[in-house]
């Protein structure tokens, strides 16, 4: 068995010295097997419940050892080995006998402090899983039916020389494209709202210091978010339905809808606006 590195030995010697009230050098010597162990209270004996078991192992091991005399002694079984570390062989003892020690005793304490307030809880199975499963099936069903009825658009092959008029971004960016048509992009452009908006969104929990989650206490926050929602919805709808060639304003009921994502699901006569 390999020698324990010096720094580890020293660390355990310090712990031992502190526990037994002896000097570090003495403890070091004992660990190296150069001096008889102090008969004083062992750390294991003073330790609470869980460690008591390993203390038993530590004392039992030398007794069992003579049977394995001559061979490299077997150090406990794996479960015991986790709590009991073999230390350097006892030089003075009979051949094959090793002393075993507890390196450190760590008091059991929760890593996370949880406040245990009684809460009204139900089993995840079946109560939550049933709801989840049902909504998952419903969405799959709707998606399959939609995909049978509605063909995804595929226009002519990409052609760098034929710019369609109008050219529109995907719908989730159309609100931004719409903004772009009101403001000078360099000044109040899209990127500033995007970047500021993105960082701004991340900052919401740190800016909104109001601890309540009751709607009646959060009128301003709710107003602002609703304003944002409505604003994006209106801008997106204008972008999708009310913008025609040159991104100019059109009425869909007069000129048709210029939105190719919808190409195959708008009634004939509306969708051929271009």
């Amino acid at each position: 068995m390999a020698e324990l590195p010096e720094h580890l030995l020293r660390r355990s010697a310090e712990a031992k010295a502190k526990a037994l009230g002896i000097s570090v050098e003495e403890a070091m010597a004992q660990l190296k097997g150069e001096a008889p162990p102090t008969p004083a209270p062992t750390p294991a004996a003073a330790a609470p419940e869980p460690e008591a078991q390993s203390a038993a192992v530590a004392t039992a091991a030398p007794e069992a050892a003579p049977e394995t005399n001559g061979h490299a002694p077997v150090v406990g079984d794996p479960t015991k080995a986790t709590s009991v570390r073999p230390v350097a062989p006892a030089v003075g003892g009979p051949e094959g006998v090793r002393t075993q020690r507890l390196l450190t005793v760590v008091k059991a304490k929760a890593i996370q402090q949880t406040k245990a307030e009684p809460q009204d809880k139900v089993n995840t199975w079946p109560h939550l899983m049933i709801v989840e499963f049902a909504s998952l099936l419903a969405v799959t069903g709707v998606l399959i039916i939609l995909s049978i009825i509605l063909q995804a658009p595929l226009l002519e092959a990409a052609n760098f020389n034929a710019t369609p008029n109008p050219s529109k971004a995907p719908w989730y960016f159309l609100g931004l494209q719409e903004l772009l048509s009101y403001f000078d992009p360099q000044i109040a452009g899209v990127s500033i709202p995007t970047i500021v908006g993105l960082l701004g969104f991340m900052a919401i929990p740190y800016v909104d210091k109001n601890p309540s989650n009751k709607p009646s206490d959060r009128k301003v926050a709710i107003f602002m978010y609703t304003f944002f929602l409505m604003g994006s919805a209106v801008l997106t709808i204008i972008g999708v339905l009310f913008r025609g060639p040159g991104f100019n304003f059109t009425y869909p009921w007069n000129d048709g809808i210029f939105f190719d994502d919808l190409k195959d699901w708008v009634p004939i006569g509306l969708g051929d606006g271009h």
Partner: protein, 253 residues
């Protein structure tokens, strides 16, 4: 003879049920295991002795189970992501990200591959759905004030997830290489050029060129099928883990 065979087939389910092989697959407490009975202890085991334990605790707050609280929007966003991964892998079998092949591959997929059209449609509409459910999930969280302590950081992770969802959708938009794809992406990436100071550099990095080109197609394909899914899965893992560690679902109001 035939009768005997039929009898064998009829016995098969009960023979399988409780056989050593099936037993080795199902962990104790599985409702599919022989002898499962409905008891509070077994209800805990269904989750605890199962890979599901990575996603769900054994018990959840009563109000969190009501469909009307979360509307299942976060769960559905995740489920749509799984559906998109499955349909996307199918599409990859038939698609090459080159300017010569891409458009034709999509065309042939719709006409000469069994279920090709259905799977492509599911992938496309599913992607639109996912953008929608993620957005609605964010709104649900906002209206519940569910971003407040100790959930502040999970909201930040959520904003990253929203951004990644949009990027996944946008990179996929280019892949059919038709007029819609080409020009929607041109318009979209032109917006990036308005980024102050670094506008043209940002645009160049996105496109791999000064304008949308065959290089862009390859670049966005790799982002779409490999890089972005990889990143979003990591962030989802953090997101779900934090939901648990922040004390489960928020509320009740």
């Amino acid at each position: 003879m035939v009768q005997k065979l039929l009898d064998r087939v009829k016995e098969l389910p009960s023979a399988l049920h409780g056989s050593k092989v099936v037993d080795s697959i199902l962990r104790p407490g599985s409702p599919m295991k022989a002898g499962y009975s409905d008891s509070p202890r077994n209800r805990s085991y269904v989750i605890m002795n199962n890979v599901l334990y990575h996603l769900h605790p054994v018990k959840v707050k009563r109000h969190g189970v009501r469909l009307s609280y979360t509307l299942c929007l976060g769960g559905l966003s995740f489920f749509l992501f799984i559906l998109l991964t499955i349909t996307g892998i199918f599409l990859m079998f038939y698609y090459a990200p080159t300017a010569e092949a891409a458009y034709q591959d999509i065309q042939e997929l719709s006409t000469s591959v069994a279920f090709g059209s259905l799977v492509r449609n599911m992938h496309r509409w599913g992607a639109h759905f996912m953008v929608l459910t993620v957005f609605l999930h964010m709104s649900r969280v906002f209206y519940h004030g569910a971003y407040k302590a100790p959930r502040e950081f999970n909201w930040v992770v959520g904003v990253v997830l929203l951004l990644l969802t949009l990027l996944l959708s946008f990179t996929g938009y280019l892949l059919p290489w038709d007029q819609l794809a080409l020009w929607a992406v041109t318009v979209g990436t032109n917006m990036a050029s308005f980024v102050p100071v670094f506008g043209s550099q940002v645009q160049f990095t996105l496109l791999g060129a000064v304008a949308v080109s065959a290089d862009t197609l390859l670049r966005w394909y790799v982002l779409h099928v490999l890089f972005l899914p990889f990143i979003i899965v990591i962030f989802m893992a953090i997101h779900f883990w934090r939901v648990r560690k922040d004390g489960g679902i928020s509320g009740p109001l």
